[in-house]
Symmetry: C2
C-alpha cells in the first residue's frame, strides 16, 4: 500500500483554498495521524487564470472536473463545487465509477442524489464521505453514523442555518426589523445577494433531510419536506417571545412518532430553559435524543472556510487511514414512513394585528372554540397610540388540521388587519 494519498480537488473557492493550505501547513500532523502523506496532485476550478497560493497555480489543471476521476495520479477526489446537478454530479459519478473515494461538501447533491450515489459507492467498493455537507465544523455526520450506531435515536433537531440564526439573534439584540438586519447580513457576507435559499428554510431542509436519512433511515426527499422560513417574523414577535420565556429559532426537527416520522423546518418558540435558546449569532447547534444516549448537543460553526475545511480534512484523513464510509446505503430503512402533516400535533403561537373595537376577541375565540382548540394563554396589552393592536394566543397541543382551519377563518375576519404570524412551540 502506498504511503501517499494523492488528491484531486475540484472547486477552489474559500473552502478549497483552505483545504489546500491545511494540507501544506499541517503535513506532519496529517501524516502522523493518518499514516500517509497527503498531496494535492491536480485541481479544477472556474477560473484557471486566477493567482492562487499554496502551490495550487502550478498544479495540473482539469478543464472538465470529471477528468480528475480518470487521472492515474489521483487516488481520491475532493468535490467542493456545489450544485445538485451538472458538473458536480458528473464528477461524483465518474469518481465512484472509477472505484475511487469521493469526499464532498455538497449538501444539495447529497440531498437529491445521496442514495443513488451511495448505492453506486457500495457497488464499486468506493467510500463516500460528506462530513462537511451539514453544519460545517460540527461532526454531526460522524456522530450519527458512527458514535451513535449502537442504539436508536428518537429525535434530531437544531439550528441548521447560520444566516437565519444571525438575523433572529440580531433582531432581538437590536430591536431592528427583519429587512434591515437582512441587509446587514448581506453586507457582512452572512447572507447571499439572493437570500431566498437560506431565509425560506430550503437550506435547512436539505440538511435536515440528510440528518433524517442517517438517524432514521428516512428517504432523501428534501422537496417533500415542509419548510417555512423567517420572513414573517417581526420585532413584535421577538418581544412577545421574550415575555413568554421563549426565543424564536429557525429549527429543523425530525422526530420518530408512533405513526411515522415527523419532519419540519420552521420557526419555533424555544424555551429559555433549553440549550438551543442560547445559541446565538451565526452558530449552529444540533440536539439528539434517544432512549439509550439521552440528550446530546453539538454546537459550533456551521459554515465558514475554516470549519468546513476542517470537516473536509477529517474525511480525507479517514480515507487515508482506511476508515470506510458507505454513504447512506447501510442506514436506509424502508419502514421509515413520514408522518402525514395532518396527523402531527403542536402547540401554537398566533399573533394577529386587530382593529381595537368591541367584539374582536369574541369573534376569534369563537373560531377557536368551534375548531376545538384549547387556549393556554392570551396577551393583549394596553395601547399607547391609535392603530392596529397586537393580540397573541398560545394554544395547547392541537392538530395541524384543526389549527389550519381555524387560522383560515381568523384571517378572513375583517377586524384582523395584517397577515397573522404563526410559530410552533417546541415541546
Amino acid at each position: 500500500m502506498s504511503n501517499t494519498l494523492r488528491l484531486g480537488i475540484a472547486g477552489l473557492g474559500t473552502v478549497g483554498s483552505e483545504v489546500a493550505r491545511l494540507i501544506q501547513v499541517e503535513a506532519p500532523l496529517h501524516e502522523k495521524r493518518s499514516g500517509k502523506k497527503l498531496v494535492v496532485t491536480a485541481v479544477s476550478a472556474r477560473d484557471k487564470n486566477k493567482k492562487r497560493d499554496n502551490g495550487l497555480s502550478s498544479l495540473p489543471w482539469a478543464d472538465n472536473p470529471s477528468e480528475l476521476a480518470a487521472r492515474s495520479d489521483v487516488d481520491a477526489v475532493v468535490e467542493l463545487m456545489g450544485g445538485a446537478e451538472g458538473a458536480a454530479k458528473q464528477l461524483a459519478e465518474a469518481t465512484l465509477k472509477a472505484g475511487k473515494p469521493l469526499i464532498t461538501a455538497n449538501k444539495a447533491l447529497l440531498a437529491h442524489h445521496g442514495l443513488a450515489l451511495s448505492e453506486l459507492a457500495r457497488k464499486q467498493s468506493a467510500p463516500l464521505y460528506f462530513e462537511a455537507a451539514v453544519a460545517g465544523g460540527i461532526p454531526i455526520i460522524k456522530t450519527l453514523r458512527e458514535a451513535l450506531a449502537g442504539g436508536q435515536v428518537d429525535e434530531i433537531f437544531g439550528i441548521l442555518n447560520g444566516t437565519c440564526n444571525f438575523i433572529l439573534t440580531t433582531m432581538r439584540d437590536t430591536g431592528r426589523s427583519f429587512g434591515d438586519v437582512l441587509k446587514e447580513a448581506q453586507s457582512l457576507g452572512y447572507a447571499e445577494a439572493d437570500p431566498a435559499f437560506d431565509i425560506d428554510g430550503k437550506d435547512a431542509a436539505h440538511k435536515l433531510s440528510i440528518l433524517s436519512a442517517l438517524g432514521f433511515g428516512a428517504p432523501l426527499e428534501p422537496e417533500k419536506l415542509i419548510a417555512e422560513g423567517v420572513r414573517g417574523i417581526t420585532s413584535q414577535d421577538i418581544l412577545f417571545a421574550d415575555e413568554l420565556g421563549y426565543r424564536i429559532k429557525l429549527l429543523g426537527v425530525a422526530r420518530q412518532e408512533k405513526d411515522g416520522l415527523f419532519q419540519r423546518v420552521s420557526p419555533y418558540m424555544v424555551s429559555t430553559s433549553s440549550t438551543l435558546a442560547h445559541v446565538n449569532g451565526a452558530m449552529n447547534a444540533i440536539m439528539i435524543r434517544g432512549p439509550v444516549i439521552g440528550p446530546l448537543v453539538l454546537m459550533g460553526h456551521g459554515a465558514g472556510a475554516g470549519p468546513t475545511a476542517s470537516a473536509v480534512l477529517s474525511d480525507i484523513i479517514d480515507c487515508a487511514s482506511g476508515r470506510q464510509a458507505d454513504g447512506f446505503a447501510s442506514v436506509m430503512n424502508p419502514k421509515a414512513t413520514p408522518l402525514s402533516a395532518e396527523k402531527s400535533k403542536s402547540a401554537f403561537y398566533l399573533r394577529m394585528m386587530v382593529q381595537d373595537q368591541p367584539g374582536v376577541l369574541a369573534d376569534i375565540t369563537a373560531i377557536m372554540r368551534d375548531a376545538k382548540i384549547s387556549i393556554q394563554s392570551v396577551i393583549q396589552h394596553g395601547r399607547s397610540e391609535a392603530g392596529p393592536v397586537p393580540i397573541v394566543f398560545i394554544t395547547h397541543d392541537t392538530s395541524e388540521k384543526a389549527f389550519s382551519e381555524a387560522f383560515a377563518a381568523v384571517k378572513k375576519l375583517s377586524s384582523v388587519l395584517e397577515p397573522p404570524c404563526v410559530i410552533r412551540i417546541l415541546p
Copy 2:
C-alpha cells in the same frame, strides 16, 4: 472474512449488562451498520452465581478475566472491570499480545498505562478503542482523534465530572450547604460512599489527561496534573458568583500557551455568557477551540449505564466495521512541554471572612500592592448581624506565583478568620 464478531466481555455491572442487552435487542441495527453480527461468546465477572438476563447466565465463564483473551471463540475483548492495575491491566495486555482488538471504558487504566498499551497495540497491529473512558455518551474521543484530525487545537476545557456539577448546581438552586448536598448526591447514587475521587478532582484529572494526550500529544501523567476539588465552595461563594455574573463550575482545562501546555483541574468562575455556565445537574460538556475549527461544544450525559454502553457499542461497531484506532501512539508529541505552574496566569476570586474592625481592608490591600497584584473589584456588603464579614476581591491577571505569595500573607492576618476561598476566573 467472517461475518460475525465474537466478543468476550469482562465486567457485568450496569454498563456490561446494558452492552449485552443492546447487542441482543439492536442486533438488526448493528448488523446493518457494521456488516457483521455481534455475538457475546464468553464473559467474566465478580459473581458467577448472580442471575443475569440477556442470555448471559448460560455463556461460558472465565474465572480469570485474562482467559478471555486466549479463547479461540473470542475475536475481541470488552473490558468493563475498571481499576488501573491488577486484573484489568492483565486482561488488556493479554488481549493486545494475542493481537486481538481491545475495547475498554477504563479511564484509570488509560490515564496510567495508555501509552504503553498503545505501543503494544501498534506493535501487535491490534486496535485499541476507548470512547467510553471519558465523558460517557459524549463522543469526545472520536471527535478529537478523527473529526478534528485536520488542524491544531488551542484549548480543551469542560465539565468532566457529573458528581461535582450536580453538587454545585443543586447548591445554587437550593441555597443548601456542600455537605448537605453531597449527602443527597450519595443517596441518589451520583456520588460514591467515598466521594474523594470525584469531589477532589482526581476523576476529572484522569479524564483531562486523556483528552490532553489526544488533543496536544501531552504525556499521560495524571498524578502530575494540578487537581483541586469543590470541598471549599460555600453557598456564599455561589451567591457572590451570581452577583458578579458567573457560575462556579469544576473544570478541567488544557490550553496551549506560548511557553508550554497549561493543564489544571479546579473550580472556575465561568461567565454567564458562556455555554458552559448553563450546563446543569449531572451533565458533562466539553469546549474545544482551535484556529481553524473555532469553538466547538459537545454536551451530554457523562456517565450512566445507557450513555456509557452506547459509547462502548460505537467502539464495537467501529471494530466490526474495520475502522482502526491505535490508541495514543499516533498523537503523542515529544515537544508537548507542560507549562510550569509558576508561569501560568489567571484572574482570581478571593473571598475572606474577616473581623469587622478598622484597618482590615488596609492590611489586605497593602499585601496585594506589595505583590503587585492589581485589583479589578472589591465587594463588601453592609452587615446585618454580628460575626465575621465576607470580603471579596477580584484581581486582574496575575501570575500564580505572585498570587500564592499574597495569599499566604493574607491567611496569616489575625483579622482573617477562616480559610479563604480562591477560585480562578475562566478567561
